[in-house]
Subunit: 414 residues, 2 copies
Amino acid sequence: MNRLKELGINAKKAAPVLAAASEQQKNNALMRIADALMQNSEEIIEQNMIDLDNARKNGLPNHMLDRLALNFKRIEDIAAGVRHVATLKDPVGEVLSMTRRPNGLLIGKQRVPLGVIAIIYESRPNVTVDATALCIKSGNTVILRGGKEAFLSNIVLTRIMRECLVAAGLPEDCVAIVEDTSRESAIALMQLSDYVDVLIPRGGAGLIKSVVENAKVPVIETGVGNCHTYVDNDADLDMATEILYNAKCQRPSVCNAAETLLVAEKVASEFLPRAKERLDGMNVEWRGCEKTKEILHDIKDATEEDYYTEFLDYIIAVKVVSGVEEAVAHINKYGSGHSEAIVTNNYFSSQRFLKEVDAACVYVNASTRFTDGFVFGLGAEIGISTQKMHARGPMGLDELTSVKYIIYGEGQIR
Amino acid sequence: MNRLKELGINAKKAAPVLAAASEQQKNNALMRIADALMQNSEEIIEQNMIDLDNARKNGLPNHMLDRLALNFKRIEDIAAGVRHVATLKDPVGEVLSMTRRPNGLLIGKQRVPLGVIAIIYESRPNVTVDATALCIKSGNTVILRGGKEAFLSNIVLTRIMRECLVAAGLPEDCVAIVEDTSRESAIALMQLSDYVDVLIPRGGAGLIKSVVENAKVPVIETGVGNCHTYVDNDADLDMATEILYNAKCQRPSVCNAAETLLVAEKVASEFLPRAKERLDGMNVEWRGCEKTKEILHDIKDATEEDYYTEFLDYIIAVKVVSGVEEAVAHINKYGSGHSEAIVTNNYFSSQRFLKEVDAACVYVNASTRFTDGFVFGLGAEIGISTQKMHARGPMGLDELTSVKYIIYGEGQIR
């Protein structure tokens, strides 16, 4: 793992240079990257096609192949994303507060970069560029460890970005990619505590589990979303049907899609058939508790494991509950702390749900699908944190910073 | 380790109850604790005296015995501290920002407790109460793992606090203490990831190292302070002498005391003899580089290891540097990212030092001894974070919270 240590040393060495760079200089690098991606799109697509061929031979499923694929339109979108990041406000250097203390000291709290960020992610090569753009803008150097499927795509994308950094007068080591895509290299990166300030894993439950087990560097967990929609006693059932349909079906493969429907006993017999009819249009598979099955016949049993599962597919687990109290208890037991919604007309149910559900994003009368940095107005998103430390929910540029106290004195002693 | 898991389960079960408690109810518990500490001071002192006897037999050094000792005055101070925490603003529930998005969603960012906090600390039994009071006020349940020297003191203090919580209508499991003070129990607590949301280790370099090696729960590192005072070319040497004297000698055993003096070449021959004379009053031992030794004869050599060392004693390492650039490089290499000071009359030196030194607190013309939650106006302090994630520098009640997005909709779908 000597190569990994070398990447760590280089990233740490580049970090103060990037941290001290002006916004102008960082934006210049980003604009160059956007241009270079377009200019080199043929080479990128060439390398991506080799990745795709290999992935097909290795039997990667179709939806993964789709995530892996780059074409001219997608490269254009990636470049547009980088240009958009250039337009966002640079968080570095902002003084969040500054007060004069009784002894005359002027004490300010200033945003600074985190330092070296490591990102472990899976097959989507757009992350290589998206994440790097956000790290550069927020003054952080980044060590990328992408999946083996996108290996050649990631290599060429990283090479282009390094060239653009140099052209903008910044160290090429502001971004680097781990060439070894073995499981061991991921674990070694999780343990590179002398060089990595924060690790952001972007992937499924397996990656998160490995990070909890192995990481020795500080981690921001992202991604796993076992989200619920709870239809309360006093819900508008038309609204509830549309919210459920949207949360489950609009894009089931993403982390903010609904996985379990909870429905209050009083409205279950009216709501469940309507909801099922609506979701039948997308051939959603229903898995229900005993009470659900008394209303909807011919559906599968929901197992204990189903309630813990992020299906990411046209499958929904259902449970009939007595009311908001049981709904909250179920969510806090089985949920992953991502996004949770109640549909209700009742003021006290809404307030109780907002207060007691322990999750990053808690919704009243809206689809969980809105959990997203752009929708929330952050201007960008490097991931959705499901942990409580440092950042929770969608993470934008501010969440990629730390603070430093700056203190102006006139000779004060204690 | 079944007992530890039981503590984890209980703390996690109590967490939502405490999170939902009103500020009034939490303050009521705190006032009861303050009263009960005073009422039970004889029993506390009795148990503390057994701890002291045992510690003396085990050869605990005098300064550690002093930290361990409780007497009526100290218990009074601890109780006063708890009453002070009751007067502080409850951070829980505060909405930091709330905006209406183009689609009509009202999205707010609300402070919530972290959940279950674990604290591993060493011989001072006052931490048992101080830390618990801050956790209760911020709505967090706490699992304490104190040192074996304070075992009986901690047990009685925890019992009293648990009784007061119950009397205030809160779960006794809002605070619990690990009765096993072995190294294994500390490691097991660091790995209790199903129950502990955040671990705050309070101790020396050995504890921090063990945490980095073993922790599987999110950690906020605190404490280690290898702090520098840099005297610039353009410094007011009288001011520099007093700042150095204060930073080194006012209380050398604490984390914000100076450990290394850096002095610019141009002023070294004038400054060093003056500084030495001033510090000789406290019999400070000097360890210098070659250039220092050319000016101050008869002092020890400073080794590479000395520059890395937090002496916590009347010892100072000295290095003559060419100017602010070398000073910053030295600090960023050897420092622990705690508190760093420059003494200068030069505007650009001050700005450069503030910008480039990578530490929680960076001072111009003031003693590093001011790094403290009370001095900074936080109203309290549970520790001083030396990491960049979540919190950096002195941590008060706000730093013991996370956030939750609360979203008010009217049926919005994506």
